[in-house]
């Protein structure tokens, strides 16, 4: 290996004008459209609908697999005669009650957990015990305790929501940087005020994830619970609508019911949660 340095002339470039090199060039129209997420997703949905229609036509058995257009027709009809809106309303009402109670309980549990080591142990023990337990498995028990009615559904809903939200919120709280905590203490904030003004906003990305997961669990559990044990007092929800129509072999209506379930899920995810995300965590630069 040579030990000497290689001697070179210094290089100094004169300042010359740039010439006709484009510093910014606009993208082609295809690329610009392709970069819009909604367009890409709409395209995928369109392809899926076309595949569905093609398979339905090829199978030509509306009892087993109605076509896309049959489903849409059934959907329009059932929305028109007010059945689906009424059933959806029943489902959503139950859902909101269960979701609300679940969120409130999760708030209490996580606040306890952040306040004391015993509270944290309690939360950890409870979540590891109950989180893997399917909500539907509790339904038979709930029926004994609360009877055939809204009470039982709300009970299993709370169970499906609570642990997902508590788990996410708790890990969010624990991930809050020590600096922010110290800043809050420096302001003289203690206890609940520290939780309310520092921990909750700082852990908001995790809390939001918990709320989203909890929502999906709740929606799933609700439809399943309605399917399994139907209704009390004649006012069933969407799950019951699906069950009823299956019994009458109105397969297009079954598909319309499932379609509604999917649409509501999509709407809540893309309108409600996406809006909250845009206004909070994305605006604050905590999530991109």
């Amino acid at each position: 290996m040579s030990e000497t340095l290689v001697l070179r002339e210094e290089i100094v470039n004169p300042e010359t004008p740039l010439g006709d090199v484009a510093v910014e060039a606009s993208l082609s129209w295809f690329e610009r459209i392709y970069r819009i997420g909604a367009v890409r997703k709409a395209f995928i949905l369109l392809v899926l609908a076309a595949l569905w229609q093609a398979y339905g036509l090829w199978l030509a058995n509306p009892l087993l697999f109605p076509t896309f257009t049959d489903t849409i027709a059934a959907l329009v009809e059932n929305i028109g005669n007010g059945v689906i809106p009424a059933r959806t309303l029943v489902s959503l009402k139950t859902l909101l009650v269960g979701y609300g109670i679940g969120v409130a309980l999760a708030a209490v549990l996580t606040t306890l957990a952040i306040g004391s080591r015993l509270g944290a142990d309690l939360l950890e023990a409870l979540t590891s015990m109950f989180n893997p337990l399917p909500a539907i498995a509790l339904l038979p028990l709930a029926l004994i305790w609360f009877g055939l009615g809204q009470g039982s559904v709300v009970f299993v809903l709370v169970h499906s929501v609570l642990w997902a939200i508590a788990l996410n919120t708790h890990s969010g709280f624990r991930a809050v940087s020590n600096t922010l905590r110290m800043v809050g203490l420096n302001y003289g904030l203690r206890g609940l005020k520290l939780v309310r003004f520092i921990l909750v906003p700082a852990a908001f990305p995790a809390i939001l994830t918990g709320l989203k997961v909890g929502w999906a669990f709740a929606w799933r559990t609700l439809i399943a619970a309605e399917l399994v044990f139907g209704v009390s007092s004649g006012s069933g929800g969407l799950g019951w609508f699906i069950f009823e129509n299956r019994n009458q072999l109105e397969t297009a209506n079954v598909f319309a019911g499932l379609f509604t379930v999917i649409m509501i899920g999509l709407a809540v995810e893309n309108l409600v949660f996406a809006t909250i995300e845009r206004r909070t965590v994305q605006r604050w630069g905590m999530q991109h």
């Binding site: 922010l180 420096n186 302001y187 005020k193 909070t280």
Partner: protein
């Protein structure tokens, strides 16, 4: 700049008396500082200087009230320091010390209202005032994540000063900045001090920064932190002067003497 001529005439603002600090790691009890004494007077720019492991940051946290001394006591004005409070505002090294869900202006206003230091209207006035002092009026409605590191530290300083605390505690606030920004921030801090004459306790491991920022420098030796010396710095603006170079060498000798002199 005035050098304190006869300390006895003035009561110290902050006194640290025989403070031993210990903290636990999973398997050891670490003594961070051992019987440290010093006094800070009004309008001091008091620097805690030492190599890593001398407990200077731990000491600052104890003064901030985040940590109780196992021995000795810390007195601010006429009461013992027991817990964190808005009379001692911390400026941290980390850029994430601003609340990311509040704008620059809201960050300062919230500090004042949450701590009860000012009413909402007064807080807004004061926030505006101090944000102007650090030259960020244009960014008052921006969220912290859109600011550079230096700007975030300026906001943190503005927030600390807006609280008008008895003492501003700064824990290596410029350490994570690039060299050019750091120099600029040091000059700005000195200018702010010229304007308002606040009392500041500043932690650093840079001898040069200590001499530039400080009016008085406490040298701590490591493992555990003990007071090696308490020196007067050279007047601000005499960087590069023979006195400054001499002081730097002297401090270097005291801290690293046994490792051999460095140029």
């Amino acid at each position: 700049m005035t050098v304190q001529q006869s300390q006895d005439q003035f009561a110290p603002l902050l006194s640290v008396e025989g403070v031993t600090l210990q903290y636990k790691t999973p398997d050891t009890l670490v003594t961070a500082t051992y019987r440290v004494d010093f006094k800070v007077y009004n309008a001091d720019r008091f620097v805690l200087l030492g190599p890593s492991g001398c407990g200077k940051s731990t000491l600052l946290k104890a003064i901030g009230g985040y940590l109780r001394p196992t021995e000795g006591r810390i007195r601010l004005k006429d009461h013992d320091v027991r817990e964190p409070g808005p009379d001692r505002m911390m400026v941290f090294q980390e850029f994430d010390q601003l609340l990311p869900w509040k704008t620059v202006g809201e960050n300062v206003v919230f500090a004042l209202t949450a701590s009860g230091r000012a009413s909402k209207a007064e807080a807004r006035d004061r926030a505006h005032n101090y944000i102007e002092k650090v030259g960020l009026t244009k960014f008052i409605d921006s969220y912290p994540h859109t600011l550079s590191g230096g700007m975030k530290q300026r906001v943190a300083i503005a927030r600390g000063m807006a609280m008008e605390p008895d003492v501003l505690l700064m824990d290596e606030p410029f350490a994570a900045l690039d060299a050019l920004t750091r120099r600029k921030m040091q000059d700005e801090l000195l200018q702010l001090w010229e304007d308002t004459r606040f009392t500041v306790l500043f932690v650093t491991h840079s001898i040069e920064e200590a001499i530039k920022i400080g009016s008085r420098i406490l040298l701590l030796s490591p493992h555990p932190g003990r007071v090696r010396a308490e020196l007067n710095s050279v007047p601000a603006g005499s960087m590069g002067s023979p006195e400054q170079v001499a002081l730097e060498l002297r401090i270097n000798d005291m801290l690293f003497g046994h490792e051999g002199k460095r140029p």
